[in-house]
């Protein structure tokens, strides 16, 4: 990719720098094969089992009438990109670099290249990724879908994505990251940089469906300008070996808004260290961070961080955890930091088992114990997300409900 020498130098210096959080992944255990992908040239010709896997992560390959654009990358090769609406651009990041000289201005601006060895590794050994952009005043009703698919064992998929909503535009994205592998190891390193210009809006809904041997290290950053809105939803309901991420959104424009919602399930053997961070640097900026974490035997560290550095900023952090089985651990770490007077930051965190009083209340209405428990868990996972188009609310609900039964 067309990265600068400075970026490469910084990356080289950080190549052995462990991440601040999460298990240290040995990058030498994974390979980066050359671009040798041999699947069909159009996603409609993909094997049915791959399409089914993608569908489970919200990616519709056949008849995607409710998608205005599609990007598919399998392992380290972009397979397809298309768009059906004027004013919206969807392409592989390598193509975008050929088209736009200015793209380098956005490269590693929302995420630091030397954050840790994973960002460094993506810079030094890049495997493409996607570029999605809404031109000024362009608005989408249906989302763009982007799929990052792992099909080969023991590879490291290193992608770098840039998403830009130009002034007063509105862009909805659903991204599904999933794998054909059943129980074989692989690594997914994904850099995503979001730029929400003045008056623009991005909703980004990410569904991860991995397997019990896959390690995942996404690194995301967002810069939100005046009156901009960044709404990020993350859903992980299936087993994964190790996932650590802490996306950071910076509100740099007055009255900009960031909302993060995460729904996490850790099955036995899964280790998740997931948080969301919002830095409120402009007057009147607001944020709301909500996470719901359930363990059926895995380990979850649920982090949240809000920093208020400007007048009249407001932020609320809500972290709730439910331990459904012995052996499960949830460690909630909500943090607030205020540096000036006149800010309003708050948090609430609760970790526990299902309250017996609630189960009995539902049983008194005639539900069996297991029905009552299922109703409460379903309710726990139901997060009211303001600002998401109906089609994405439905997709999100479907992704959650399809896995709910496995929790009981």
């Amino acid at each position: 990719m067309n990265s600068s020498g400075t970026h490469r130098d910084k990356a080289k210096a950080a190549l052995n720098k462990p991440a601040s959080f999460g298990e240290d992944i040995d990058l030498t255990a994974y390979t980066s094969p050359p671009e040798e992908y041999t699947h069909p040239s159009h996603p409609s010709q993909l094997p049915a089992k791959d399409k089914e896997k993608m569908l489970g992560a919200g990616i519709i390959i056949d008849n995607p009438s409710q998608r205005i654009g599609t990007f598919i990358q399998v392992d380290n090769v972009p397979l397809h990109s298309s768009v059906r609406q004027e004013g919206i651009e969807v392409m592989a990041i390598s193509e975008a670099f050929k088209k736009y000289d200015w793209l380098l201005d956005y490269w590693w601006r929302a995420v630091a290249v030397d954050t840790d060895k994973y960002t460094a590794s993506v810079e030094l050994n890049p495997h493409n990724g996607y570029f999605i952009r809404a031109l000024p005043r362009s608005k989408t009703i249906y989302p763009v879908q982007a799929c990052l698919y792992l099909s080969k064992a023991r590879i490291s998929q290193n992608v770098h994505n840039i998403i830009i909503a130009e002034e007063n535009s509105e862009l909805h994205i659903i991204t599904g990251c999933t794998t054909a592998l059943k129980n074989e190891p692989a690594l997914h390193l994904g850099i995503s940089e979001f730029y929400i210009k003045r008056g623009a809006k991005i909703t980004f809904t990410m569904i991860h469906n991995w397997n019990p041997e896959i390690a995942v290290r996404p690194r995301s950053g967002a810069i939100v300008e005046e009156n901009g809105l960044f709404l990020s939803n993350y859903v992980l309901m299936r087993p994964v070996r190790s996932l650590q991420m802490y996306p950071t959104a910076r509100c740099v424009g007055e009255n900009s808004v960031v909302r993060h919602n995460s729904i996490l399930v850790a099955t036995p053997g899964s280790s998740l260290d997931v948080g969301s961070r919002a830095i409120l640097n402009a007057r009147g900026a607001r944020t709301e961070i909500v996470s719901r974490a359930i363990t059926t035997g895995g380990i979850i560290v649920a982090r949240g961080y809000i920093e208020g550095n400007a007048p009249e900023v407001k932020g609320h952090l809500e972290c709730r955890g439910l331990i459904l089985s012995e052996g499960g651990v949830i460690h909630a770490i909500p943090e607030l930091r205020g540096t000036i007077p006149g800010i309003d930051l708050s948090h609430e965190a609760a970790v526990g088992k299902i309250a017996e009083e609630e189960v009995e209340y539902l049983m008194a209405r005639g539900l069996t114990r297991s029905e009552a428990t299922a109703t409460i868990v379903r309710g726990f996972l139901k997060v009211d997300i303001e600002g998401l188009p109906p089609v994405l609310s439905t997709e999100l609900r479907r992704a959650i409900e399809s896995s709910e039964k496995d929790l009981m």
């Binding site: 709730r320 309250a355 009083e357 609630e358 009995e360 209340y361 539902l362 049983m363 008194a364 209405r365 005639g366 539900l367 069996t368 114990r369 029905e371 009552a372 109703t375 409460i376 379903r378 309710g379 726990f380 996972l381 139901k382």
Partner: protein
């Protein structure tokens, strides 16, 4: 002769090792509504929770018979499905579970097509259907929501725990109306399918709901039985202190 719906014989109950109810005997016939008065802490709620079957309330003696079946050992949910329903004084908040979800749960097994919104209109709770159950509900809203759930559940035996407590004057008339609908007060007694047991500390609910028999419970024992308005009048004039003195006098006489 009306069918006896609920028969309680020699019931003794303990909670966390402490005996709360002693030798309770009570019979309710189909279509009748009875009221149980008593000071705070006398054991009224314990009696309702025990009839409903909450596991924390341990029956150490006697039995509870519902529609001819000994339900003393029957689990809570099975009792609910058998036709017992309860309105709680302080129900828990269940985050994420909407009022609508609760109503649908209460409607289980009932004919499809019941219009939940129409049902909610009766309790003036249409705007609460998509809110988490009991979350930030006022006292009156909680009571109306409890009664609404019972209207959906349609139990044959309704247990109402302090339905008027924490309710303002505007709400109490609607609460009374909902209770009367639940207990089919517009039908002649022989045609009613629903039987009610109301517990109350203040007795205000009797201004809105007609009941057949009143009882007074003190210190885990039902001490007297009679005309509910006469009993309430005595309580209003002389307070529960007089009831306790009366109980003590009679106990000392054997």
């Amino acid at each position: 002769m009306s069918e006896i719906v609920l028969s309680i014989e020699g019931l003794r109950v303990e909670v966390e090792g402490k005996e709360i109810l002693r030798n309770i005997n009570l019979q309710l016939k189909r279509g009748e509504t009875h009221v149980l008065f008593g000071p705070n802490g006398s054991g009224k709620t314990t009696l309702l929770m025990t009839i409903m079957g909450f596991p924390k309330y341990k029956v150490t003696g006697g039995k509870i018979v519902f529609k001819g079946e000994d339900i003393t050992a029957l689990p809570l949910d099975e009792r609910a499905r058998l036709g017992i329903g309860m309105s709680f004084q302080r129900p828990p908040v269940v985050r994420g579970v909407k009022t609508r979800d609760m109503l649908l749960a209460c409607l289980r097994g009932r004919p499809e097509g019941t219009n939940v919104d129409k049902l909610a209109e009766k309790a003036d709770l249409v705007n609460f259907l998509d809110r988490d159950i009991n979350y930030h509900f006022s006292g009156g809203e909680i009571k109306r929501s409890e009664l609404l759930q019972l209207l959906a559940q349609k139990p044959e035996l309704v247990l109402l725990d302090e339905p008027e407590s924490g309710v303002d004057l505007v709400n109490i008339a609607l609460i009374g109306k909902l209770i009367n609908e639940l207990l089919e007060k517009d039908c002649p007694i022989p045609e009613r399918k629903c039987t009610g047991l109301i517990i109350t500390h203040t007795g205000h609910i009797l201004d809105y709901v007609n009941v057949r028999t009143g009882y007074v419970m003190c210190d885990g024992v039902i001490g007297c039985e009679g005309d509910p308005h006469e009993i309430l009048s005595t309580i209003r004039d002389k307070g529960y202190g007089e009831c306790i003195r009366c109980f003590t006098r009679r106990a000392s006489l054997g």
